[in-house]
């Protein structure tokens, strides 16, 4: 159910951008998602297919870029990918602190079809 409400929001964002750009239809939606968000990509696509029906986003293919959660080691002063069941830096063993990397969830962009030729202002 988590995916359902988020996917509604995705469809809303995509359709708003699609109408702003006078799209005929959206062919691709690129999502970026932190792997620690607990979201199942297959569920997002399934809900997307349902919710997008009858809108500009109907039939669009979702592509998902997963971002592995990173922690920051204060001693080595660098990030490391969070191991399972531990927060220890793989190099020095110090406890890392959380970063925002791995929590993101945003619509990066869309690919759309339009009748209008691209207008380049200059």
């Amino acid at each position: 159910m988590h995916e359902y409400s988020l996917t509604k929001q995705i469809v809303k964002i995509v359709n708003r951008a699609a109408s702003e750009h006078n799209a005929k239809r959206v062919t691709q939606v690129r999502l970026v998602m932190g792997a620690s968000g607990g979201i199942i990509p297959e569920s997002v696509q399934m809900y997307f297919d349902q919710i997008a029906q009858g809108t500009l986003a109907e039939g669009a293919q979702l592509t998902l870029r997963l971002v592995a959660p990173q922690m920051h080691c204060p001693v080595c002063n660098q990030n490391f990918t969070r191991p399972r069941f531990s927060f220890e830096c793989p190099i020095c063993g110090t406890l890392g602190s959380p970063t925002d990397i791995g929590n993101e969830f945003y619509v990066e962009g869309i690919e759309l079809e339009t009748d209008e030729p691209s207008i380049r202002k200059g």
Binding site: M1, H2, Y4, S5, L6, Q9, I10, K12, I13, V14, A17, H21, A23, K24, T27, S36, G37, G38, P69, M71, R82, R84, F85, S86, F87, L95, G96, S97, P98, N103, E104, F105, Y106, V107, E108, G109, I110, E111, L112, E113, T114, D115, E116, P117, S118
Partner: protein, 215 residues
């Protein structure tokens, strides 16, 4: 027909975050401090709330209860004279800002005080959605096992305090407190961990002193 690529870069949580900020400002203007209470099913969230509310005389409590189904918790609170209303999500795993916004008119909110929002029993999604709170508290138990910070890091990262409930059961379970504490401190070095028992009342005076200091 032209194909065009459009950059959007829009956060999927942004709209909920905006609604939540509005709720928080509205509550602050009324002198109400909102606490989002997270915890797994059976962690003792309602029992902890009752223990806290009973130890905060002179501070008006309001409660929004979130449950997938039933109004058992709300009736329990109302029977104790605590003004509470129920949200049933009918399957959804967390509360969102809009739901809280819709419930606020159903509470009197006539005096300054504390609004406790008991979220759906779940350590995953409720951590992702702000609901207008000034802070989150997380209720865990010694019977859950000490690995919870490692399995559900976001909930621990976002909580201002962790209540470790069912302390009365410590002698009967193999709970590795050092491992638990280490995990919480890595994620959230500022969050105090209060050992409490909803059954005996142990530890709640300290919790309430800490809450009062944050108001």
């Amino acid at each position: 027909m032209e194909t065009k690529d459009v950059q959007i870069m829009e956060d999927i949580y942004a709209e909920n975050d905006q609604v939540s900020e509005g709720i928080q400002q509205d509550l602050s203007a009324r002198g109400i401090y909102a606490i989002n209470v997270l915890g797994a099913p059976g962690a003792g969230k309602t029992t902890c709330l009752i223990n806290i509310i009973n130890r905060l005389p002179g501070i008006t409590p309001y409660v929004i209860e979130g449950d997938i189904q039933s109004d058992i918790d709300t009736r329990r609170l109302n029977d104790l004279g605590i003004e509470s209303v129920q949200i049933n999500t009918n399957g959804a795993c967390h509360l969102e800002g809009v739901q809280i916004q819709n419930m606020l008119p159903k509470l009197s909110l006539s005096k300054p005080g504390i609004l406790f929002v008991e979220n759906i029993g779940n350590l995953v999604c409720p951590a992702e959605f702000m609901i207008g709170e000034h802070m989150k508290i997380l209720i865990c138990t010694v019977t859950d096992g000490a690995d919870k910070p490692y399995k559900y890091p976001l909930a621990f990262e976002k909580a201002a305090a962790v209540l470790l409930n069912k302390a009365d059961l410590l002698p009967y379970v193999d709970f590795d407190r050092a491992y638990f504490t280490k995990g919480v401190q890595a994620l959230n070095p500022d969050a105090p961990i209060f050992l409490v028992s909803g059954k005996t009342g142990e530890g709640f005076n300290e919790v309430c002193e800490w809450i009062k200091a944050r108001l």
